[in-house]
């Protein structure tokens, strides 16, 4: 029933109003001091260690993609292991087909050097 959800709506409205009021009050009442220091990330003066928007090695992306291959497999293997006794041989072979498909992907990554996570120049110096 819709009326059961009115408290949720009320809470949402309150949260929204509170946020808006707080932002508006601080914008109206605060004193602005211009200058470089107040634009820094840490106004206390703590120096930054590094920039946050910088180029990240594509290897991290590769790790994430490799992880998907194994994680999807594992995600299906757990429930499969629970019901394998009831499912019997057809279920066993169904999973073997699936694992076979994953293995093709795995073999491709392996042969392509996708599991070799050293930076490119290090690999080159090893080869040469």
């Amino acid at each position: 029933m819709p009326q059961d959800h009115y408290p949720v709506l009320l809470a949402l409205g309150l949260a929204l109003a509170l946020g808006v009021v707080m932002l508006m009050l601080s914008a109206l009442m605060s004193r602005r001091m211009g200058g470089r220091v107040s634009l820094d990330t840490y106004e206390s003066g703590e120096p930054l260690l590094d920039r946050s928007h910088k180029r990240i090695s594509v290897l991290f992306f590769l790790i994430a993609i490799d992880f998907v291959v194994f994680d999807v497999e594992a995600a299906f293997l757990y429930p499969w292991a629970l019901v394998i006794r009831e499912g019997g041989w057809p279920l066993f072979w169904a999973m073997m087909v699936f694992v076979g498909l994953i293995l093709v992907g795995f073999a491709y990554i392996w042969k392509k050097g996708g599991l070799d996570l050293r930076p490119e120049r290090q690999k080159r110096s090893l080869r040469g």
């Binding site: 073999a107 491709y108 042969k111």
Partner: protein, 487 residues
């Protein structure tokens, strides 16, 4: 769960063979000696041919057979589409050969993705549950995203892939959301059960709202895939930026596959909503025809013009869909069949005239082509006439059948818009003819016809285009016979 008979898998052998071949090709890509362009093309052509042979051995199914607990159906309708997809993929492979070797791009992964996308299309044609249809669609779409960005050192290709991926992923999300709402309204995702449960759901207040939201979202996702206005914005950029053989693949096989599931879902799952989707489809068809043709008029790049023309043609096909009669349906099959060959031929000619990746795509590059290469100019003229719908070409009968079906079922105003916009399309199609035959060319270097696979493909497509314009009856019979059990 219903018990699944092992012999049901026999009906899916063509798909299994094709998928295995795709993975085999992927593995050959890891071999050191994998730069065999000819070898990879030969393997994929052999795989496609083997799949087609297996399909033909199964023959045209007499009565529809629902298999694997209602996941898939094998009927005449799926048979028709599967043959068309296999042929379109084989031609794509033939068109790609020179393109890949010229650019130095790896062939194994490319052909592997083509085969896997085709596998997805075959499953789409057979899909009988919204879930299996959606997953097959994703197999096709994910492969297509990578294919669109295959020229990875070209910014244009990257742009095409990214735009296609983001908009495609969004539309897939919309599609699956619509499916979930329909499931909520009816409690099933199998097409025939959904059709049976829908009237009862529509009688309830919440059920009818859920179903309405569900099918509208579903239709939006499908209209996106067939590139109908206003869901077409990705088309020109993707068609222009993707490697031209991939553009062929997207404009023919991928578009036909999307129409295959659109028709099946509308006709087999949503007959209870027919008046609603007829109106929506009519509105979309009219807007698509007008916008596609007007936008195509203003283009200077041939690939972009063909992209908008493909949008416009999606509009024509939708006319046949909204007629909701048997005549309208076989007209859709006929049109998409003819359109596939015409489009492959057109883009084949474009590929032969392209020099390095994206050069040679503007209208002025076609100036004086009749002197440089009379053969290519004549072929291009045939395809342009066919796209306009001028006899004696397959495009003429395709349009006649579509418009006649619309008139018979009472959608006269839609057919009138179709005829008028076809007249508009004459300007830009014939514009290329004018460039080729009446303008002087800047350079006199004769176009080389050094790619036998390409030239053969173009010639075969031209012959089929003209044949369909003289003898449409066999294809009409085939299309009619493949509708058994669908309506």
């Amino acid at each position: 769960m219903d018990s699944i008979q092992p012999q049901e898998f026999l009906l899916l052998v063509p798909e299994i063979v094709l998928a295995s071949a795709g993975m085999l090709l992927l593995l050959t890509g890891t071999l050191k000696t994998s730069n065999g362009y000819r070898l990879c093309a030969a393997i994929s052509l052999a795989a496609l041919a083997l799949t087609a042979v297996l399909l033909l051995i199964q023959g045209i199914p007499g009565a529809p057979r629902v298999i694997l607990s209602g996941m898939f159906i094998v009927d005449g309708y799926s048979f028709f589409w599967k043959l068309l997809f296999l042929v379109a993929s084989a031609f794509t492979v033939l068109l790609s050969d020179r393109f890949l070797s010229d650019g130095g791009y790896r062939p194994a992964e490319f052909y592997s993705l083509i085969l896997l996308a085709t596998t997805g299309m075959l499953f789409m044609a057979s899909g009988y549950s919204l879930l299996s249809i959606w997953i097959s669609l994703e197999l096709m779409a994910l492969s297509s995203y990578i294919l669109a960005g295959y020229f990875k050192h070209q910014t244009k290709s990257n742009e095409a892939a990214l735009k296609y991926f983001i908009l495609g992923a969004l539309s897939s999300g919309i599609l699956v959301y619509g499916i979930s709402l329909l499931y909520g309204a009816t409690g099933t995702i199998q097409l025939d059960e959904l059709a049976a449960a829908l009237p009862a759901a529509l009688a309830l207040e919440t059920g009818s709202r859920l179903a309405a939201a569900g099918w509208l979202l579903l239709a939006m996702g499908l209209f996106f895939k067939v590139a109908a206005v206003p869901f077409h914005v990705w088309t020109p950029d993707v068609y222009e930026g993707a490697p031209t053989p991939v553009t062929v693949f997207l404009a023919t096989a991928s578009k036909a596959a999307s129409f295959a599931i659109l028709v099946r879902i509308f006709y087999q799952a949503l007959p209870a909503l027919a008046p609603d989707w007829q109106w929506i489809t009519a509105a979309i068809a009219v807007v698509t025809m007008i916008w596609g043709n007007l936008a195509a008029l203003t283009q200077t790049n041939v690939k972009r013009m063909l992209a908008y023309s493909s949008v416009a043609h999606a509009g024509y096909v939708l006319i046949g869909v909204l007629a909701a009669t048997e005549d309208g349906l076989w007209a859709v099959l006929f049109y998409l069949f003819a359109y596939t060959f015409i489009t492959i031929g057109t883009f084949g000619t474009v590929i032969l005239l392209e020099r390095k990746e994206y050069a040679g795509e503007t209208y002025s590059d076609y100036a004086g082509l009749a002197q440089r290469s009379p053969f290519l100019a004549a072929m291009m003229l045939v395809f342009m006439l066919a796209l306009t719908g001028i006899p004696p070409t397959g495009g003429f009968f395709g349009k006649i059948y579509l418009f006649a079906a619309a008139v018979e079922s009472g959608w006269i105003w839609v057919a009138v818009v179709g005829v008028l916009t076809s007249a508009i399309s004459l300007f830009y199609y014939i514009g290329i003819g004018v460039q080729m035959y009446l303008k002087e060319s800047g350079d006199d270097t004769p176009s080389a016809l050094h790619a036998p696979g390409l030239v053969g493909t173009i010639a075969v497509c031209a012959v089929i285009t003209v044949l369909l314009g003289i003898l449409p009856e066999p294809l009409v019979q085939f299309a009619k016979s493949s509708l058994v059990g669908l309506l």
